[in-house]
């Protein structure tokens, strides 16, 4: 059976089953950060683990259909901007980081004022940043670049090597 690039069929099938659950768990940890242990950073890293799993299992060329470096750039910047927007909305409601959303009932999901929004923004930011750095570090973009221009000689197997 032809498997293409990436790892074996077993790894790919397990990834198909598991990666969605990992992503949902990451979002859950980020969304309930104001109710229990967790938070935006931990949830974002778990979400990034799902992306890294997909990139590792399916190989760079196949994973590029779902996750590209430019997508990661955009999502990274959007997450950072979202956190700033939450703070700025507070600024327009009074002072920077002011609580402009009613705090709701304790131990409910819709409580904590601006905390869930900030957690979600940080989750998007951390997840996109880590996946983007992983793609950049493992040099999948470089391999594709060489495919496009084969006349250019290869600089070396990895960056930072003389």
């Amino acid at each position: 059976m032809k498997t293409g690039d990436g790892m074996t069929l077993i790894v790919k099938n397990v990834t198909r089953l598991v990666s969605g659950f990992i992503a949902v768990f990451g979002i859950y940890v980020a969304m309930t950060g104001h109710l229990g242990p967790g938070g935006g950073f931990a949830g974002g890293v778990i979400l990034a683990a799902s992306g890294v799993l997909i990139v590792l299992a399916f190989g760079g060329r196949t994973a590029r259909k779902f996750i590209t470096e430019s997508t990661c750039h955009v999502a990274d910047a959007a997450g950072a901007f979202g956190f700033l927007v939450v703070a700025l909305c507070g600024f327009f409601a009074g002072s920077f980081f002011a609580r402009f959303i009613p705090i709701g009932r304790l131990h409910h999901l819709a409580s904590g004022g601006t905390l869930p929004l900030s957690n979600l923004a940080i989750m998007v930011k951390v997840a996109a940043g880590l996946v983007g750095v992983f793609i950049a570090l493992t040099g999948f973009g470089r391999v594709l670049l060489e495919k496009k221009s084969p006349d250019r000689p290869r600089q070396g197997p990895m960056p930072f090597e003389e």
Binding site: H34, G39, A42, V52, G112, G113, K125, G129
Partner: protein, 195 residues
């Protein structure tokens, strides 16, 4: 008493793992030793009652271990370069001196009481013999439920009372990731439709 023995054992394990990571000549072994030290640190966090920190430490450790192992495996050259012996000895002596100075100042060498409170007492709590209570921990615990409405006090401190810190932290990560992108790119970005 038992928890302190466990924590000391974990710290000794971390020290051994860090020494192996520094001293071994195989890069893959060094990466795995760094991972072992990180997991021991997350176990210490869990024992000291900081589940937020422990969760973050575990997931960051897993991700960084995967990334580093992937990088090391794709590298052709796995032998680490070492600095000269004189330089290594000098740096090690300097590090030991700085560490001893920090321990001396923190745990009270000159005065009878150091800067850092004794083990098991968080810095943010009130010390009974202080004339002015320095701690804000009790204040946070008392005010979080009615001011923020969040059940997790840690998150309300991180994202609301200390929101500026978190904004700066997010900015630091953002800049670091942009710097990584800029350094890892071997050739500049070029417009697609050039003649």
């Amino acid at each position: 008493m038992g928890i302190e023995v466990l924590i000391v054992a974990l710290i000794v394990f971390m020290l051994i793992a860090a020494l192996i990571a520094v001293e071994t000549s195989d890069l893959l072994s060094a990466v795995i030793a760094v991972g072992a030290a990180g997991f021991a640190l997350s176990a210490i966090d869990l024992l000291l009652g900081a589940p937020d920190l422990a969760i973050t430490q575990v997931v960051v450790e897993i991700i960084s271990l995967v990334v580093l192992v992937r990088l090391v495996v794709t590298r052709t050259d796995t032998s680490a370069t070492r600095p000269a012996d004189v330089l290594r000895t000098g740096v090690a002596l300097l590090a030991a001196g700085v560490m001893l100075a920090v321990v001396f100042v923190a745990f009270g060498g000159a005065s009878d009481r150091g800067v850092v409170p004794p083990f098991g007492q968080p810095v943010l709590t009130h010390r009974p013999d202080d004339p002015i209570p320095p701690g804000v921990g009790k204040d946070y615990l008392a005010r979080t439920a009615e001011e923020i409405g969040a059940a997790n006090t840690v998150m309300s401190v991180v994202l609301d009372y200390r929101g500026y810190d978190t904004l700066g932290e997010a900015t630091v990560i953002f800049v670091a990731i942009i710097g990584a992108y800029a350094m890892l790119r071997t050739q500049g970005r070029r417009k697609e439709r050039l003649p």
